[in-house]
């Protein structure tokens, strides 16, 4: 009998290690032949630790399981959830990027291959660099890190650049609150990311790659480092990738706790060992990136989606989605939510359906007041905007952004003035310091919001002006987009900004 207990850090944070240990001990005491497999998560965090039992054939799910449940689990008397694939939250998804996550032991390369892994890389090896780039263009894949820039066009620039050395850099800095897709795929299916980076290397002629992985993710760091070691030992990475005669190798590098290092030029400075100050563009990183060489910088999910595009075909991928938002997006549902976790679906689902239907509303059972989409630089969306389809242009049209697709739900106890203040405070703490409107403006922003809270209604106008200055005068999106959460809070929740005098009137 095989028993799956996730090693994902969200599962661990909810006690998965203790459950795995209890299962091993109980099985041993009973003399049962049990193999405990530590898989990735299936993404339904409210059910973690989610344990699956496979007695040859179907996998039966149980969760959330505690160590005290283990005897009943092994007796067969614990009430189960049936098959994971039949749980509505899971059944409604289209899993392309996350197809294997939670199914297999993340570090079992044979299981990876048995579930479709390496098929994409093998196809890519048979193609020229230009053909690979063309397929990525055909898929319609856009950057999942935030800006949504077409991945194939970025690769074309690096492909066309002449240089003795080029690089693939994976942005695994995932600093946005409410996001964890990068973490989950790195902990649950790391070879997918490595395969995507190898395909990128073949496409543009880069022989070396780096993953810049935030230090807040010790579990992901461990899994990725081990996966690279295994990849090298098995000839998937190195001087002769899968016997193709082509070279691609990579290293995992650990960040040091700076949000701004998720910005690609700041990241490159950090990778080079400098302060993570944002660089002016041009030059584009695609032409002068890491150590001044042409460099592809892509988000984890962008790169981890490449293998399935080659495995299943660019058109297959492009057939999902809405308008110019093609394919699927692993949406992360978080905060005050009943059914939180990772929900991969084709672009286009209305926000309200996600929040109320898929996610079941708030955990507290109180009404939803606001949903912040796209991390700390994303707008607060009120329920009146819930018909907005989840897609790049559609969110842009509502003064928002989907960013890395984090959806953070707040109930009616949230104080939106305090959330606006926090956005300014976060910008002040994390500013790289290069532009005055960001570095100083954010500090003034906190003070101005405090004045509003103390009853100075006139300060609201000042806040709007300040936001305008930040938008116009900031080099990168940290200073440039902090006005999104601030102004959306101010516009959509005027009552929270009403001074005591106004409220009394």
């Amino acid at each position: 009998m095989k028993i799956y207990v996730p090693r994902d850090s969200a599962a661990k944070a909810l006690g998965a290690d203790a459950v795995a240990a209890a299962i091993a001990a109980e099985a041993e005491a009973r003399g049962l032949d049990v193999t405990v497999i530590r898989n990735g998560t299936r993404g339904m965090i409210w059910l973690e630790p989610l344990v699956e039992i496979d007695e040859g054939g179907a996998r039966h799910a149980f969760g959330p399981v505690t160590p005290a449940d283990v005897p009943a689990l092994l007796d067969g008397t614990l009430e189960g959830l049936g098959k994971v694939e039949d749980i509505p939250f899971f059944a409604r998804q289209t899993r392309l990027t996350f197809a294997r996550c939670g199914l297999i032991d993340p570090l079992d390369l044979d299981a990876y291959e048995a579930h479709g892994g390496l098929a994409g890389l093998r196809r890519a090896i048979a193609l020229t660099g230009q053909q690979i780039v063309d397929k990525v263009k055909d898929s319609g894949l856009r950057g999942r890190g935030g800006a949504g820039f077409p991945t194939g066009i970025k690769w074309q620039t690096v492909h066309d650049a002449e240089a003795d050395q080029k690089y693939i850099v994976c942005n695994a800095d995932e600093g946005d609150s409410g996001t964890f897709a990068d973490r989950m795929i790195m902990e649950g299916d790391p070879f997918t990311l490595i395969e995507g980076m190898a395909i990128a290397g073949l496409a543009v002629g880069a022989t070396k790659g780096y993953v810049y992985l935030r230090s807040e993710y010790p579990d992901a760091i461990e899994v990725m480092q081990e996966a690279v070691r295994i990849g090298r030992a098995r000839g998937f990475l190195g001087a002769d990738v899968l016997g193709s005669g082509r070279t691609y190798d990579m290293e995992i590098r650990v960040g040091a706790g700076a949000y701004v290092c998720g910005e690609e030029t700041s990241l490159l400075n950090s990778l080079e060992g400098k302060r993570g100050i944002v660089r002016a563009k041009p030059p584009l990183p695609a032409l002068e990136g890491f150590l001044g060489k042409p460099t592809v910088v892509n988000n984890v999910i962008s790169l981890a989606t490449v293998p399935v595009i080659f495995e299943k075909g660019a058109q297959h991928y492009a057939d999902f989605g809405l308008g110019r938002s093609k394919g699927t997006m692993p949406i992360q549902i978080a905060g005050n939510v009943k059914y939180g976790g990772l929900f991969e679906t084709a672009f286009g689902m209305p926000l309200g359906e996600l929040v109320n239907d898929v996610a079941g509303g708030t955990a507290t059972g109180r009404p939803v007041k606001a949903v912040q989409v796209g991390g700390p630089l994303g707008a607060y969306m009120p329920p009146s905007k819930f018909d907005t389809p989840f897609a790049y242009e559609e969110f842009d049209g509502q003064g928002g952004l989907i960013g890395h697709a984090g959806v953070v739900i707040f109930d009616d106890s949230a104080d939106m003035l305090q959330m606006a203040r926090f956005a300014m405070e976060f910008c002040a703490v994390e500013s790289c310091g290069k532009c005055t409107p960001c570095r100083i403006g954010a500090v003034r922003g906190v003070e101005t919001i405090d004045r509003i809270a103390e009853g100075d209604g006139g300060a609201k106008e000042l806040l709007v002006d300040l936001c305008e200055t930040m938008t116009d005068g900031s080099l990168c999106a940290l200073g440039g987009l902090t006005p999104y959460p601030v102004l959306s809070a101010l516009e959509n929740y005027p009552d929270d900004f009403a001074t005591r005098k106004e409220a009394a009137e």
Binding site: S9, A10, K12, A13, L14, I45, W46, E48, E174, G175, D176, S177, G178, T179, F180, D182, R183, M184, S215, E216, Y217, P218, D219, R253, V254, G255, A256, G257, A258, Y259, S270, L271, E272, G273, K274, R275, G276, F290, L291, Q332, I333, A334, G335, N336, V337, G340, G341, A363, Q372, P376, G406, V408, I409, F410, D411, A414, M419, F422, F426, V429
Partner: protein
């Protein structure tokens, strides 16, 4: 005050990282691992190894939240302050924890046991409030779970 093993340890760290592209952050992380902070005495050694000025090395160290100039307490407790955790009561939890320990953000208890620092997202946003003690992650954190992890 200065650790007599410092030059030897740093030399060993440098040897491990020679040939790497952009070795500064890996070296600083290794020094953190070895000493629990970046000792002042390591700065000139790093500057010499990487052919940089001391001011430049200081500049890098001070830019990143992770690199400490002083050792932390025996346990480093990080509590998430970011939005998704705030949505499930992280602020109130933090206030209670800090009040009980009698310290503020970034401070260490007088007995040197616990340092508390803010962190902005641990990727545990669907099971917040989130916290971390060392490398151990805590979901749906409350005072009891945090106390257990600090035991």
């Amino acid at each position: 005050m200065s650790d007599p093993t410092l030059p030897e340890t740093m030399a060993e760290i440098f040897a491990r990282h020679r040939g790497q592209e952009g070795p500064m952050l890996p070296i600083l992380h290794a020094a953190m691992e070895a000493f629990g902070h970046i000792p002042e005495g390591a700065v000139p050694l790093i500057a010499e190894e990487l052919n940089l000025g001391r001011a430049e090395v200081h500049g890098v160290i001070s830019f990143y939240h992770d690199f400490r100039k002083e050792p932390a307490g025996h346990h480093l407790l990080k509590i998430c302050r970011a939005e998704a955790c705030q949505a499930v009561g992280a602020n109130a939890l933090t206030e209670r924890v800090l009040a009980k320990l009698g310290i503020g953000w970034g401070e260490t208890t007088p007995d040197g046991r616990i340092t508390v620092e803010p962190v902005y997202c641990l990727g545990l946003c669907a099971c917040g409030p989130a916290a971390m003690v060392g490398d151990r992650v805590i979901g749906r954190a409350d005072e009891t779970k945090i106390e257990e992890a600090l035991a």
